[in-house]
Amino acid sequence: MNHTTSFDARRRWLLQSGASCASALGVGSLGNLLLGARPAHAADYKALVCIFLYGGNDGLNTIVPSDAARHAQYSGVRGALAIPRDRLVALPGTEFGLHPSLAALSAAAAAGHIAPVFNVGPLYAPLTKAQYRATPSGAALKPDGLFSHSDQQVLWETATTHSQERTGWGGRASAVLGTVNPVISVGGSARFGLTTLQSPLVLPGPGSTFGAYGLQPDDLKWAPMAARKAAIDLMYAQPQDAALADAYSRMQRDAFAMSQRLGALVKVEPGKAGSIAAIDSAFASITVSGRISSGLGRQLYQVAKLIAGNATVQGDRQIFFAQAGGFDTHAGQIAGSATEGEHARRLQEVGDALAAFYTAMKNLGLGQSVTAFTQSDFGRTFKPNSSNGTDHAWGNQHLVVGGAVRGGATYGTYPQLVLGGDDDVGTESWEQHGRWIPTTSVDQYAATLLGWFGASDAQLDAALPNLRNFGTRRRLGFV
């Protein structure tokens, strides 16, 4: 951890830009006292929103070729799982379309605010098929635990090729850039937001109480509760005889501090006190009787609130983490027709939630300041199995959505749709399933996002240790 760099950076920043220290002083009365009212967002506010699709999303059915020749290649192998050309949601300016379940994103697509990025996956360095087959397992060029959910989730979340890695690229980027908050996760304690010293800030959903009952400021006016709180504070300030207990105590202390700051904001629900019309109206299509109808929808509603509530959350750079699960479609990926079934349902939830979020950002005038992007364990086999499903693969197709995104084009290299071909890990007849060797690495994908986010080349190298193995191709241009 290069503490010198970040400390010096803070010193330099302090010397140069005293006035905008305002945002760092927090909501305490002292901050207001010294520097008066602040704008809701720094002019240069930016947020990144990672949406992790757990299980391994079938990217080949998410972004589908729409030109006749390639679609014929695609459907020739995909068979019953092939999405018909005429059902695709257009990505104007490209020869690709989205799965019809993502219809809610058609407005964003038409506005040129969706970029597909092809054949992305964990890599140590650029890797040809010949190299892959010649490299022994365990050597650096072969990432750890290929085709394993847990290992690949770690590799995507950490942007490394080691499944033992303890820190996430979201966490490292936040640390290197010195953001006010760690990664804020609305989707659990994923590794993405971890640093060596800090956990991500994990918040519950809208309507939840983020706080300790009986220990709120009002409760403490009553003596026994004040005494209880004093005992709580003291017990969590004591050094412990076990490292895990110290870690536990530290999280308790942090939790109280965070809930003081964010509890009220976390609780806000659609239509209730404190809610913002610009956000509620965007989420109206997935809100039923005041409750957002999907898990990812609730998470992104929360992210929208936290972005709008920047005066409370603080900071001009924030990384968020959200997730949806259930993408491991080994069997029954489709049911009835290719556009129905399990995968269609899961994608519908993602499309509807993401479209609502995109609209909310636009409504808030922050469309250009917020970029959402997908990640997933891996893509799935091009060739389906006999259970109407697909199995674990590697390189995958992903989506980046936001007002700053350069849509109307595609990024990365779409794989050659040839079983056993140059992009397929397999050669022998029994291993020709269309598991693509990535041609764009997670590092390059992340570097493009972080570059937009404001990271310098040095900061990119610090946050993404393998990025230098990809030479100058570190800004792919999709945002």
Binding site: L14, D144, V180, A212, R228, A243
Partner: protein, 659 residues
């Protein structure tokens, strides 16, 4: 300001903000510790700074602004003024001030002023802490590791019998069972009306009682809180987090009942038998798509997770659980996964199910969970296969023989003993066992014997569990800095209830507290269970599986669970729950000791942790407990003392992180 977010020393007006603001006003240049301290003291009469331990040798921490830091032990320090990341090592500090001695790092800083002491109670002054009784502590420790929570009666029982005899007696007890919920008729519906749409079945609880895992949750918590075969239930709970099925992706209550009864039955049997029953389970067949898996193009789901999660793991291991060769060398490649997928083809549901439209695909049975899966050889791939551990299948093999070969290859594999052994240690005793501990447990798994436990057959779980619990690392009275584990939410639920003579029908611990704390029994989000075994704990070099579902929100919800039980009276019996008893504790036994706050707190501390609490924590808790007196609440001061004491004792790191 892009300041790094880390734990700040507490200051009445908010520490870091004050220092940044005053320093900015002063000069905007390098902030010194002296300047910060001076600025802090000019704002208000702040408490004096003092030396406070931050971490043990080997740890690391971060300072937002420069502080005095010292490395060493009492009387022998290296002191520096530092900021940013600090590694608590001799290398970082430039020399070793106390060779061969475990050192620590301390920071010179302001700590929270304690709250003003409440008015002194008229009752007698609280007694001082009793000495730690090592035998009591060890009994409570074993109860914590081997049951769903210590009780005074259980600790006494363990003390009387001794650890080894108690474990043996536990293994000999009759098995508690899952009995609640509907039956297989859910999969025998030949009418076009859905099962829960039929008048005979219709009602708000039809799905709950016949398809969901909720009835099992009721049995789970009732048994965990009151049935005597505690160790068997703990081991079954551990096994269900390794060989995972989830109510989120399969339904049919009777199927899950059968699956989990099988784990109870085999908890002290042999792991090969566990794997066999899992492989033949139609619930598992649905969950991981091996039912009706066909030789033409089999899906890889079950085969892959059988290898990765249920048997050998993805990296080659030494017997002590460390990575063979120091880095991850894959245990198998994708071709091997596919070989297992082919070998495991050709199984369908047992006969007995029925649907209005017959059974599909043709030649297979309808969905039915009333028994093991049966072979359907037409779908079984008979091609010769090479499996792991030198096991192979000759051309023309049949499904049952192929399954036996699969099981033989897995139980023989050198990875299986440390892979399973280490996870059992993590589930029962410690998240970070030493390599030597893992090696000893692996040896028990491999030899099938540990002292008088086990049959001598490789994979013997009685021997393995005995090895886990009787190992010196589990029984040693010396606290291990890297030892212990954060109690699972489930184990916290039950141990607070058991320790406080409580009861539960499980209802509130499923959709409410189970969901709140992300451990809703029988509904893990995926086959990867509730959390990964290697979840990294930030700020340490350790792993903490249960930290994978712990965070700022969970931190406060754990306290809210205590408020719910103690201040809100828990849950009353709910109308729709069969034989409902609600969820509540019973503090009557403790109100008898309420007059002496010290005695009350110590008694609860011993139940919770086996010993009195550390001095400062104990004193502050006694202060809070002592606020309640006959003057402040004539009728209820004793019960309120008990509630306050219980809340605070079970909130302590000493309890929440078992050592």
């Amino acid at each position: 300001m892009r300041a790094r977010n880390e734990v700040k020393p507490r200051h009445p007006l908010g520490g870091r903000q004050v220092r940044w603001a005053t320093a900015l006003m002063a000069s905007g240049a390098l902030i010194t510790a002296a300047g910060a301290a001076a600025a802090a003291t000019t704002v208000t009469a702040a408490p004096k700074p003092q030396w406070v331990k931050v971490t043990d040798e080997g740890g690391a921490f971060n300072l937002a602004d420069p502080k005095k830091v010292r490395f060493g032990v009492s009387g022998r320090w290296v002191q520096k003024s530092l900021a940013g990341t600090v590694a608590c090592t001799s290398t970082f500090f430039g020399r070793d001030p106390a060779k061969g001695v475990a050192k620590q790092c301390q920071v010179y800083k302001v700590v929270a002023a304690p709250a003003p002491a409440p008015a002194p109670a008229p009752s007698p002054a609280p007694s001082g802490p009793p000495a730690v009784d090592a035998a009591v502590r060890d009994a409570v420790r074993l109860a914590t590791q081997a049951s769903f929570g210590n009780t005074e009666a259980l600790a006494a029982e363990i003390r009387t019998q001794g650890a080894s005899k108690w474990i043996a007696s536990q293994m000999a007890l009759a098995t508690s069972r899952y009995t609640s919920g509907g039956n297989g008729t859910v999969h025998q519906n030949t009418s076009n009306t859905g099962f829960c749409d039929k008048p005979a079945n219709a009602g708000p609880n039809c799905w709950r009682d016949n398809f969901s895992t909720i009835p099992l949750v009721w049995d789970f918590y009732r048994n965990a809180i009151s049935k005597p075969d505690q160790l068997r239930q703990r081991v079954a709970f551990a096994l269900q987090q390794i060989v995972v099925v989830s109510g989120t992706e399969a339904d049919g209550t009777y199927g899950f009942r059968s699956y989990h009864n099988t784990l109870l039955d085999n908890a002290f049997g042999n792991y090969r038998q566990v794997l066999k029953k899992v492989a033949l389970s139609p619930v598992m067949g649905d969950f991981l798509n091996n039912v009706n898996n066909d030789k033409s193009a089999p899906n890889e789901n079950f085969a892959r997770e059988l290898l990765q999660l249920f048997a050998v793991g993805t990296c080659q291991l030494n017997t002590d659980g460390s990575l063979r060769g120091g880095a991850c060398a894959p245990t198998y490649d994708n071709d091997m996964v596919r070989s297992y997928a082919y070998a495991l083809t050709g199984w369908t549901y047992p006969a007995g199910g029925a649907t209005p439209w017959g059974c599909w695909p043709k030649g297979t049975n309808c969905r039915y969970y009333g028994g093991d899966m049966v072979p359907v050889e037409a779908r079984h791939d008979t091609v010769a296969r090479t499996l792991m551990s030198g096991v192979s299948l000759a051309d023309g093999h049949k499904a049952p023989a192929a399954l036996e070969a699969v099981l033989d290859s897995l139980i023989a594999h050198p990875n299986t003993a440390p892979f399973i052994g280490k996870q059992l240690i993590q589930q029962l005793v410690s998240s970070n066992p030493s390599a030597a501990y893992v090696a000893r447990v692996s040896a028990a798994f491999t030899s099938g014997k540990y002292a008088s436990f086990g049959t001598g057959q490789r994979g013997d779980l009685a021997a393995t569990v005995a090895a886990v619990l009787l190992d010196p690392e589990a029984r040693s009275s010396t606290v291990i800095v890297n030892g212990g584990k954060l109690r699972d939410p489930v184990l916290m639920f039950t141990s607070v209830l058991r320790g406080l003579n409580g009861q539960s029908d499980g209802d509130a611990l499923s959709w409410w507290w189970g969901e709140e704390l992300r451990e809703h029994v029988f509904r893990p989000p995926s086959v990867f269970s509730f959390y990964p075994p290697d979840y990294p704990v930030a700020g340490t070099a350790l792993v903490g599986p249960s930290f994978g579902i712990h965070n700022a929100n969970a931190a406060l919800q754990r306290l809210n669970y205590l408020t719910y039980l103690l201040d809100w009276g828990g849950s009353a019996a709910a109308a729709g729950v069969p034989n409902a008893i609600g969820t509540k504790v019973n503090l009557t036994a403790f109100t008898a000791d309420a007059a002496d706050a010290g005695k009350l707190v110590d008694r609860l501390s011993v139940i919770a942790t086996g010993q009195p609490l550390p001095t400062a924590t104990r004193a502050e808790i006694i202060k809070a407990v002592s606020w309640w007196t006959v003057s402040t609440d004539k009728t209820n001061w004793q019960i309120n003392r008990a509630k306050m004491a219980a809340y605070l004792v079970f909130a302590t790191p000493s309890y929440q992180v078992q050592r």
